[in-house]
């Protein structure tokens, strides 16, 4: 049975008819064309699909689109400023080479933003524990952790080290 879901996605109101069983991630990717949110597994383990629902990180493969009815959803496409300026966490990932193939990256960045929102000055240990739900196969996490620490500082209003290029 189709049902109608309405929500705000990246600041824009959207309303679509979906099959009841439609996952939020499928809705975002297939109905809204927001393909920055990825699907890396089918057991809610990998975290490639993390988005923000009302400001908190959620694995969008773990909830139905219908459950997000009325919510404010932010995906990786909605994280940078309207003028294209990267969010400090995105900029930190670039500066510290916190991504390689880029597939886990949207989920990793969205998780990191939520982590730092909840804990503005995390220790390395806290960053590692906080990212336990996001699997990266490329980076060995070393530079992701560096990026999140730097991103946290930048989100606090600290200055990002100038890009070396």
């Amino acid at each position: 049975m189709p049902c109608t879901v309405s929500m705000t996605v990246n600041g824009k109101a959207v309303s679509r008819e979906v099959e009841e069983r439609t996952l939020l991630v499928t809705f975002l990717r297939d109905q809204l064309g927001l393909t920055g949110t990825h699907v890396g597994c089918d057991t809610s383990q990998c975290g490639a699909c993390v988005v923000h629902i009302d400001g908190r990180s959620v694995k969008s493969c773990t909830m139905l689109a219908a459950q997000a009815d009325g919510a404010a959803v932010t995906t990786i496409e909605g994280l940078a400023a309207a003028d294209g300026t990267l969010h400090p966490m995105q900029a930190a990932f670039r500066e510290h080479h916190g991504l390689q193939c880029g597939f886990c990256t949207p989920g990793m960045v969205m998780s990191a933003v939520d982590l730092v929102t909840a804990n503005p000055s995390p220790s390395e240990h806290e960053v590692r524990e906080g990212l336990e739900g996001n699997i990266c196969r490329c980076t060995g996490y070393h530079n992701i952790v560096k990026a999140v620490m730097a991103g946290a500082e930048a989100m606090q209003g600290g200055t990002m080290k100038a890009a070396a290029e």
Partner: protein, 796 residues
């Protein structure tokens, strides 16, 4: 630095902008008008005869367009997925090479073997209908492990492959080894298992087939590390589509680690089906499907013996390995446990005699092929575990025993007894850098401190050398390769001085769009933002062999250099004409074309404009344009090498192993982008640590069911499982035979790490008398090992 985007600069990656904003384009992100969706019906049995398939009910399900089977492919004369490397057994007979159809015809040979494909309007409809396809299976007994498959009376995976033996191969001088063992003062022996792994690139495989009725052109968009090879194999051997009517595109690809080198059946199915149903057909694997169908890695069972004289000098090495091939031969499978494994058994040591025997075995499991390192981690793990055992047994310090047996830098180039000739390497230097870096002398104090907290501590070394950028095509051909192993590049200057580089290498995380652009920026002084790197599309790039075996920079980068050489030669002629100077007087300085001894100079942009608007151009000597193509066939392998040192702390009450520190000292030759190189090392290390401590692909030995078929059961290393790393490299030993002096860095971390970790684990457990533990050293295994070895036994 003269050029902030030239060679040696840690240029921030240009590809990151799209990946960080969700604008990457991976295969599953692409949707076509009137696209349909494919879902495969897969065998739930490891081994079964397919007595019949009834698709009537599925065809009635909502949205279903077609249900296609192996019989339909047979009727269309679809061929077998080809194997790209032929091995000959000791007796000269060729390996057994049974057919491997994209969809099984009469028998399913592993859990997950495709039996039918459902094509429907939506993915969900296809999935629903796939459950309605009635397959009449007659279950057969399965041969699951390589050891059991070799036993007399084992079920046969292929009726015409007796004993399930694909080949029985050897390398080296058995008589010389026997003679050396007869003289040995001490022999160290070790039985070990290099367990099966699932590569697990984070992007699941996907494929999108399209057919243009107007032009007769097929397009396959696929998650591949080498689209040209897929075009060749699928076009020529499977579907019979000539190259000029087949385009293969590998857009952004979310990691490969080897698993996306190979030509998979699903690629052929969507390409074939798109013409059949007259609409685009897309398939995307779910992760469970990836576990079942991506080619796995490793899976060796080995016995090794090292003969030494009384001073610990290595005299000879003898190795016998059984390698699991899975149910069919994947594209490069036979080369992995042979020419990429046994040839590396010399390691960094001057062991004068080596003999290796390798039996490759068919089993009712998914095919096994290259996974990051591909044969070389297996070789390194075997040698370095054996050396550690030798050190423990002889009482010689493990660093000293290694140093004593290193091939000295002065002996380069060095011919090993197992076919390879190392060009450069200073192994003692790697060790010299590593020892103070990890404070080797301070280990005893750290161990005592751990002991005060009730913890065990161990330190382990691994020195590795690998062979990358697979060597001259004629040599590879003589060893069984059925393809050339060169790379192609085209460097196209545009009229206003911007550049497009077309490369046959493929980037799926390696950052080629940055590193390759640095080569051009360095050479011609072009701002990096004016250089576009194009890869992954057979309709744009002349040809390509793709990315695997850490070859992209050494082979693909060298091809770009060759093309730039040609551009420079032509540009000099044009500059000489424009500046009214002799060609011999034109020098290239900081990217400018200068008349020697004068201030007369042109930029490459000036020359490019004249090349395309040839009003003042030597038209009688040269054609207009500035666009050159090159193929580069390497003269030899490259030999990255290094020394990894790991320290672990173990909680004896729980068996939990924690990597306390990890240092990697590597020689990758010349480094173009240090930031990217270090990132490659970090990632490689965690895959190696993953094998050592966490990852294990387990099939039920009777039923052949995959037990570790999801991230709930297959333990992937996560951020809180690993430490930050200490990474160093030196550039004193550039590769001598490619123009960049580069060796490759993609696999090194994985090759050294597993051995270093396991050596540290065994060292920590040595006070209990543990002398070996098979990977992964899970808490359960470590705890059992501690319980099995009481301190009283250790004292014996």
């Amino acid at each position: 630095m003269a050029n902030p985007t030239g060679i040696g600069a840690s240029v921030r990656r240009r590809e990151d902008a799209r990946f960080l904003t969700g604008r990457g384009t991976y295969t599953d992100d692409i949707n076509r008008p009137s696209q349909t969706h494919a879902v495969f019906v897969r065998s739930p049995y490891a081994h079964a005869r397919i007595a019949g398939i009834d698709a009537a009910e599925a065809m009635q399900a909502p949205g279903v367009i077609a249900v296609l089977t192996g019989a339909d492919m047979e009727a269309d004369k679809v061929g077998s997925l080809p194997c790209g490397w032929q091995i000959h057994s000791k007796d000269g007979s060729p390996m057994k090479e049974p057919p491997h159809f994209p969809i099984a015809r009469d028998r399913a040979r592993y859990v997950g073997d495709a039996v039918a494909v459902v094509i429907a309007e939506t993915r969900e409809q296809a999935k629903d209908a796939a459950e309605l396809v009635m397959v009449d299976y007659e279950e057969l007994p399965a041969a699951v492990t390589s050891l059991k498959a070799l036993e007399g009376g084992a079920p046969l995976v292929h009726d015409d492959v007796g004993g399930n033996l694909c080949f029985d191969w050897h390398l080296g001088d058995a008589a010389a080894v026997d003679a050396a063992f007869a003289q040995a003062a001490h022999v160290a022996k070790l039985d070990l298992v290099n367990q099966r792994l699932v590569p697990n690139a984070m992007e699941p495989r996907a494929a999108l087939g399209e057919y243009d009725r107007a032009t007769g052109e097929h397009t396959l968009t696929t998650t591949s590390q080498n689209p040209h090879v897929i075009r060749l194999l699928m076009g020529a051997f499977v579907l019979g589509i000539p190259e000029h009517k087949l385009r293969v595109v590998a857009p952004d690809v979310g990691g490969g680690f080897g698993s996306k080198i190979f030509h998979y059946g699903e690629e052929a199915v969507v390409t074939w089906a798109a013409k059949k149903v007259g609409r685009p057909v897309k398939w995307t694997a779910e992760r469970s499907e990836s576990f079942l169908t991506d080619a796995h890695g490793r899976d060796h069972v080995s016995h090794a013996e090292l003969a030494m004289d009384k001073d610990g000098n290595f005299l000879a090495l003898r190795v016998a390995t059984i390698a699991n091939m899975g149910a069919y031969l994947s594209t490069f499978a036979p080369s992995i446990p042979t020419y990429l494994y046994a040839t590396l058994l010399a390691g960094q040591y001057k062991t004068p005699a080596i003999y290796a025997e390798v039996k490759a075995v068919f089993t009712n499991t998914v095919p096994v092929d290259a996974y990051r390192g591909a044969g070389r981690p297996e070789a390194c793990y075997l040698i370095e575990r054996l050396v550690e055992v030798a050190a423990a047994e002889t009482g010689i310090d493990k660093a000293e025993l290694r140093r004593r047996n290193f091939v000295p830098a002065s002996a380069m180039p060095y011919q090993t007894p197992v076919a390879l000739q190392y060009d450069t390497g200073d192994f003692a230097k790697n060790l010299d850098i590593a020892l103070p870096l990890v404070d080797y002398d301070g280990f005893a104090a750290r161990k005592a401190e751990s002991a005060r907290r009730g913890k065990l501590r161990g330190i382990g070394f691994a020195t590795y050398i690998e062979a990358c950028g697979i060597a001259p095509s004629n040599v590879a051909g003589a060893l069984g390769a059925r393809a050339g192993l060169y790379e192609s590049a085209e460097v196209r200057f545009h009229p206003t001085g911007s550049v497009t580089v077309f490369t046959g290498s493929h980037s799926h995380g390696q950052g080629h769009e940055t590193t390759f652009a640095q080569l051009v920026s360095e050479r011609f002084g072009v701002p990096i933002e004016n250089v576009e790197i194009v890869h992954g599309d057979t309709s744009k790039i002349p040809f390509g062999m793709g990315t695997y075996g850490s070859r992209s920079l050494a082979v693909g980068g060298s091809a770009i250099v060759k093309a730039m050489d040609k551009v420079e030669r032509k540009a000099k002629k044009i500059a000489a004409h424009m500046l009214e100077a002799a060609e011999a007087d034109i020098e290239v300085k900081d990217g400018r074309f200068v008349v020697a001894g004068t201030d007369k100079a042109l930029t490459i942009g000036d020359i490019a404009l004249q090349a395309y608007v040839p009003h003042n151009f030597p038209l009688d000597e040269l054609e207009p344009g500035l666009d050159e193509q090159a193929f580069y066939d390497p003269k030899n392998f490259t030999y990255p090498n290094g020394c990894h040192v790991c320290e672990v702390e173990i909680d004896p009450d729980t068996g939990v192993v924690q990597v306390a520190s990890f240092a990697a000292v590597d020689d990758f030759g010349r480094v173009i982008n240090p930031l990217i190189v270090e990132g490659q090392v970090h990632g490689g290390l965690v895959q190696g640590i993953g094998q050592a401590l966490y990852e294990n692909c387990v099939y039920d030995e009777e039923s052949g069911q995959l037990i570790t078929g999801s991230y709930m059961d297959y333990c992937m290393p996560r951020a809180d499982d690993v430490p930050s790393f200490t990474v160093r490299y030196h550039e004193d030993q550039p590769c001598t035979h490619n123009p960049l002096g580069v060796k490759g860095c993609g696999e090194a971390g994985t090759i050294g790490a597993s051995a270093a970790v396991m050596n540290a684990v065994v060292h920590a457990l040595s006070e209990y008398g543990v002398t070996h533990l098979d990977m992964p050293a899970t808490p359960e295994r470590v705890w059992q090992a501690i319980r099995r070895h009481t301190p009283a036994q250790a004292a014996e």
